[in-house]
Amino acid sequence: MQDLPPIGGYEPVQWKRNLPSRGFRASIYFWGITGLMAFGFYRFYKGVDEQRELSREKQWSRFYLQPLLLAEEDRNVARRYYSEKARQDLVRESMSDEVKAKFDKEIYNDKSKFRFPQYTVGIDPADR
């Protein structure tokens, strides 16, 4: 005795997956993301350009102000220089001749240009 297929044959076997495909076609995702990123990069580099121009604007505004700020600062430095010179002259009057000679000695041998006095803290190089 042998089992036989039912009359009309078996039902077809479902061997293929039958999941519903979600979302759009893959090419739509690809081009969509590509487009979005292209826009993002375009916008980003526009922003970079703009940042550069903004800093250029800031720099030129500073360049235009620099002479007037320097002029003000120069007057202040000159004021301090002249008042320090006046103070030194005042002190010089009460010096002994020996100290006066030492005081009057030129600091720099090179007299080709003017130098502002520079003060540093430390031992006098002559006493070292």
């Binding site: 916008r43 526009k46 922003g47 703009e50 940042q51 121009e53 903004l54 250029r56 604007e57 800031k58 030129w60 505004s61 500073r62 360049f63 235009y64 102000l65 620099q66 002479p67 007037l68 320097l70 002029a71 003000e72 120069d74 007057r75 430095v77 000159a78 004021r79 301090r80 220089y81 002249y82 008042s83 006046a86 240009k113 003017f114 502002f116």
Partner: protein, 172 residues
């Protein structure tokens, strides 16, 4: 005596320097403007005072710093800048104030104060024939109608209010 008084120094210190410039050097009024008004006025100062500024900077370049040699040119620079600021205050005080207050609030970011800058620029061009021009580029950033970095809308709103108030004042 307050407790704090016990711990302070015996010396009274005042922020006054009594050492004035020698009388042989002429006095000049200082600009005395703070950073925001200076930033707002910088391009107009640059446009108006170009010869004096260039003269001063060249003098400094030629004289090894020229702190003592270029005081005369420096006075000219200062006087010119003051004259520009005085003119701006005379003709466009309200617009100027609107713009520099915005700059002050917006951390000196010029990009965040475009509407008020436009109003100020228009007023200054009308009265003083000075124009803001950034050298070296064709495309002027301050004239860009749709910038990426727009900042807050505060300045836009304040400028609109300012223009509205002025319209009401003019029509009345």
């Amino acid at each position: 005596m307050v407790l704090g008084g016990l711990f302070t120094s015996r010396h009274q210190w005042e922020n006054v320097d009594n050492n004035q410039l020698p009388t042989s050097i002429p006095e000049v009024e200082e600009v005395g403007a703070t950073s925001a008004p200076l930033l707002a006025a910088s391009y107009f100062i640059g446009a108006q005072c170009k010869p004096y500024n260039d003269d001063f900077m060249l003098c400094k370049d030629e004289n090894n710093g020229g702190t003592l040699d270029c005081l005369k040119e420096g006075r000219r620079v200062t006087r010119c800048a003051i004259s520009v600021l005085k003119d701006i205050n005379k003709y466009c005080f309200d617009e100027f104030k609107l713009h520099y207050e915005c700059l002050e609030q917006e951390n000196h970011r010029t990009g965040h104060c475009r509407p008020s800058e436009g109003v100020l620029g228009k007023c200054i061009f009308e009265h003083m024939k000075l124009e803001k021009k950034i050298p070296g580029v064709e495309k002027q950033i301050h004239l860009n109608p749709s910038p990426v970095y727009q900042g807050t809308s505060k300045d836009k709103q304040k400028t609109a209010e300012f223009l509205k108030a002025r319209e009401v004042k003019e029509s009345a």
